[in-house]
Subunit: 122 residues, 2 copies
DNA sequence: TGCATGATTGCGTCATTGTGCAAATGATAG
DNA sequence: CTATCATTTGCACAATGACGCAATCATGCA
């Protein structure tokens, strides 16, 4: 590890690909940045079982249609699984996937901290 | 651990406080959900050193004033440290804080998964 | 076949936010 | 004191997104 490698510019860093780049995914955080969605996801994580849309709607103060849209958004981000049975649709938190994703990002951040300016390309 | 405790409704879960509730903080994710901000933060994490605003502005395609605002947002969310020296302001990623926060959330999620419907209040 | 129910979608509205430009602020050098 | 440089702030504009209501779709039941 040389001195020159530990003191690169942000511009150089931008071209220097690291796991952080892909794991720090704005699309994932976009799903989590809304208070109503965060509440819904927290409920589903704590329930730890598939829940129907109407059931989930009871835990927040917005219209069922809004809840439905939020659930679709969370599912699209990979945070929920959905299953249709009859006319009810159940959503369940993908808790394992979420915690693994968070840990992977934490690992990548720590990696950059320990070996700055990833020697992968500088 | 009884059966009745592992099958609560989302509404009950909402009233059941868990570390997930506070750690799944929309305010944090709001800071991370913008592509430009994510890029800036990734750069600072990879640099692993304090960088001036003008320096950071070189790594993304928006106006310096926009970068300045994004940096303020990230700092307000606790993701960056700022230090003023003369007329230049330097921002540095709080990588340790970020990775600790992510791991704490991952732990809370796993905890809910292993002991559903936190026995803390149900 | 008709009707009720759970979920989704279309649409209009309102609030928020990302952006660029210009002006202002703060600090250093001549 | 004035000019210059780094950063921030004011302002206007456009895009995005959350929301409620109503209509629609899909399924189950009489």
């Amino acid at each position: 590890m040389t001195q020159s490698c530990t003191n690169i510019s942000p511009k150089q860093a931008a071209q220097c690909c690291s796991p952080v780049d892909t794991l720090l995914d704005p699309e994932l955080f976009k799903a989590l940045c809304d208070p109503t969605r965060a509440l819904i996801l927290a409920c589903l994580i704590k329930c730890a079982r598939p829940c129907a849309v109407s059931e989930i709607a009871e835990c927040c103060a917005v219209d069922t249609s809004v809840v439905s849209r939020h659930l679709a958004t969370l599912a699209r981000a990979g945070l929920l699984d959905s299953a249709k049975q009859g006319r009810t649709v159940s959503y369940a938190a993908r808790a394992d996937h979420l915690s693994r994703t968070l840990r992977a990002l934490a690992d990548a951040v720590d990696q950059s901290r320990l070996s700055p300016a990833a020697q992968s390309c500088c």
